[in-house]
């Protein structure tokens, strides 16, 4: 009797499934249909990438001060560097630019503090983000206090204005949004119906009509002798719009809370507001951060609409640049650059929210 007491040695996988060839076969040419798709994709890449690369890099001009520096066929990035100050700061006075730079620095610091989970005392960061940060930024950017020269808001522009608009929108919208969300889930019919109607109306109309309303109608709503800056009016419009969006995000978070949490808060003898402040909200805000960041990304993109009411945000500054007589045929470069700036911000933020979502997902789930 022959007993084979040894395992038959495992043979290597067939050559066709190994190595590069195997990978190619598996991922690109598994079926005839797939092969066709692959070839179409390759053809597209071959058609699109080299000309774009050539235009944007190889044949592009990078150095110079005016249009004459652009002698080659490709993109004229000189335009971007020549107008860089406007892209960043709008018409902010030369001598005061350091104030904007401090604002940028503080913004970065605060955002890192709030959003990076390894930082200590993030709650305090959040409180600073909602109170101290807007206050100091206003004093810094607008001036008129502490010996700082006043810089009127119509001189603000570029990336700085885009950031100011979206950050202010966020800072104001967050508390209002939380109140609206709580109101919508309230047992009191008057409060909940008001909040529902408010949220649905603001969510249901285009931001552009809200901006128009803010710029044209708002002055009629307030007593005749009170003046509101155009930027302030746009901010009011954007903030309320944003608040309605945030409210829905927070409401989602509230709904995701297990009922036991509410009951536990009641059982502890906490009042409604105490329960909310100490038990519910900290949890809700934590799980809502990805949603809030996504809303912020949305808002960041939407601030480009202020172009239509005549504020000079990043996109508007770029459009103004296009019409400059000294820079003919520059529109593609300007669009690509602006698009890239917006993309970089939004992509970064959405990556962050995806990563956070993954992280929250692995935690305990009810």
């Amino acid at each position: 009797m022959i007993v084979n007491d040894k395992n038959i040695p495992s043979r290597p996988a067939p050559a066709s499934t190994r190595g590069i060839a195997g990978w190619l076969r598996e991922n690109l040419f598994s079926t005839p249909g797939n092969s066709v798709l692959t070839f179409m994709g390759l053809a597209f890449l071959v058609w699109a990438i080299p000309p774009i690369f050539q235009w944007a890099v190889l044949q592009a001009d990078f150095i110079g001060v005016n249009k004459e520096a652009c002698t080659s066929e490709g993109a004229c990035w000189v335009f971007v560097s020549a107008r860089f100050q406007q892209f960043m700061y709008g018409f902010y006075p030369d001598t005061e630019l350091w104030r904007v730079n401090i604002f940028f620095a503080q913004m970065t610091a605060v955002l890192v503090w709030v959003l990076w989970d390894k930082m200590p005392r993030r709650t305090w960061g959040g409180v600073w983000f909602l109170t101290g940060f807007p206050l100091t930024s206003f004093i810094l950017l607008h001036g008129g206090f502490l010996g700082l020269e006043t810089v009127e808001t119509h001189k603000w522009g570029g990336l700085m204005l885009t950031l100011v608009l979206s950050l202010v929108g966020m800072v104001i919208a967050l508390p209002i949004g939380i109140l609206l969300a709580l109101g919508r889930r309230s047992d009191m019919p008057a409060v909940s119906s008001f909040c529902t109607v408010f949220i649905e109306i603001w969510r249901g109309v285009p931001l552009i009509t809200i901006l128009f309303m803010a710029s044209v109608m708002l002055p009629l709503f307030i007593p005749g002798d009170i003046e509101l800056d155009k930027l302030a009016r746009a901010m009011i419009g954007i903030s309320l719009f944003e608040a309605a969006l945030i409210a829905e995000v927070i409401r989602g978070g509230l709904q995701a809370m297990p009922k036991g949490q509410y009951e536990a808060a009641d059982a502890m003898g906490l009042s409604y507001w105490q329960g909310m402040r100490l038990i519910i909200m900290p949890q809700v805000l934590k799980i809502s951060i990805p949603g809030i960041v996504n809303t912020f990304v949305q808002l960041f993109k939407d601030t480009s609409l202020v172009l239509i009411i005549g504020l000079f945000d990043l996109l508007a500054v770029m459009q103004a640049g296009i019409t400059d007589v000294n820079w003919p045929n520059i529109s593609i470069e300007a669009f690509v650059f602006t698009g890239f700036v917006f993309w970089a911000f939004c992509f970064g933020m959405s990556r962050y929210s995806v990563a956070l979502e993954r992280k929250l997902d692995t935690g305990h789930k009810s």
Partner: protein
């Protein structure tokens, strides 16, 4: 209980604040301006020759200079102006709501605007008319050959209506494409999306400078409308209206009397009675307007006379190269005329 008191307190504070806001009385524009230290002037978001910001955000243009003249008259310093760029849609509400003290934004004087918007037109600082710009290679020499054409129109003016009237009157058809800003209109025209661009003639000359090849476009001779452009103030403040009017007249009278920013100091000592009335040595001066007696002197000294403003911004010394035409003084065959300082 504590909460209820807090809430009631908040409600009370709100009530008080809003009633307080309503109670304060409307003060005169001049007082406001003096108190504030500068004039708030509504201008366009960028129209070469009329009001346009440079890289540093300094505003220049014929409309800008009207505001500067008013600042020289009221505050003695032509630089005490805050310029607020407005789109066509916002301009009247901005003035009505008090966001600006004067609107100087190539605004056409029409009956509706003067009578039903709660505004008053001050006068005319540029006589304009709607015209057409086409590309030379189209081979068109008159607007009457434009039947069926696609037309780029810049929104927010009387332009759309004049355009429609003109084509209807000559029983021609057209396809209107309405853009919000001049940048888009130029883009539409340049790319060939439209056969022609219609706007006030001054604007056409201005827009032409923005084309990649300005020489390839011509402005057709037809003028299809009257467009007297001028500054606007709120209705119901006659003193401010008068100040605006006489600031404008000072520019014109300055040219008529041959006074320029360069020579006015030298002519201070002249015994020409018209000039000495103008600079406020004799005559009514600025008392009735609540202004210093030398307000007209300040205007011409700091801003210049009408001729200087015109040539500097839209005329021979500017890229627009517009001729004086009907905007010449009445003595020179134009229709620019101002009541005398007397």
């Amino acid at each position: 209980m504590k909460k209820a008191i807090q809430l009631a307190g908040a409600a009370l504070a709100l009530t008080a604040a809003s009633s307080l806001a309503q109670a304060s009385t409307q003060t005169s524009t001049l007082e406001n301006v003096k108190e504030r230290g500068y004039i708030q002037c509504g201008v366009s978001t960028g129209l070469p020759g009329f009001s346009t910001p440079d890289e540093k955000g300094n505003w220049t243009g014929i409309d800008v200079d009207v505001c500067r003249a008013m600042a020289a008259a009221t505050l003695g310093n032509a630089d005490k102006v805050k310029f607020i760029p407005l789109t066509a849609k916002e301009r009247f509400t901005a003035l009505q709501s008090g966001e600006i003290d004067v609107l100087s934004r190539n605004t056409t004087w029409t009956q509706t605007r003067d009578t039903s918007l709660g505004l008053n037109f001050v006068g005319v600082n540029y006589y304009d008319g709607q015209g057409f710009m086409v590309k030379k290679n189209l081979g068109v020499s008159s607007a009457l050959e434009l039947d069926g054409a696609t037309v780029c129109i810049q929104a927010g003016t009387t332009t759309e209506l004049n355009m429609a009237d003109y084509f209807r009157e000559h029983s021609m058809t057209y396809q209107p494409l309405v853009f919000d800003t001049s940048a888009q209109s130029v883009q539409g025209f340049e790319s060939g999306r439209c056969d022609m661009l219609t706007s006030d003639q001054s604007q056409l000359y201005a827009l032409r400078t923005k084309l990649a090849k300005p020489d390839e476009a011509i402005v057709l001779p037809e003028v299809i409308s009257k467009e007297p452009l001028g500054p606007v103030v709120r209705q119901g403040d006659d003193q401010w209206l008068n100040i605006a009017k006489w600031s404008l007249y000072a520019l014109v009278n300055g040219e008529e009397l041959g006074l320029t920013s360069d020579n006015i100091d030298a002519k201070m000592t002249t015994d020409n009675p018209a000039i000495s009335r103008f600079i406020g040595k004799t005559g009514p001066g600025g008392k009735a307007l609540n202004l210093p007696d030398d307000f007209a002197y300040q205007i011409v000294k700091q801003v210049g006379n009408y001729d200087e403003i015109f040539e500097r911004n839209v005329g021979a010394k500017s890229p627009l190269l517009i001729k004086r035409g009907i905007n010449a003084l009445w003595k020179d065959g134009g229709i620019v005329y101002a009541p005398p300082f007397r």
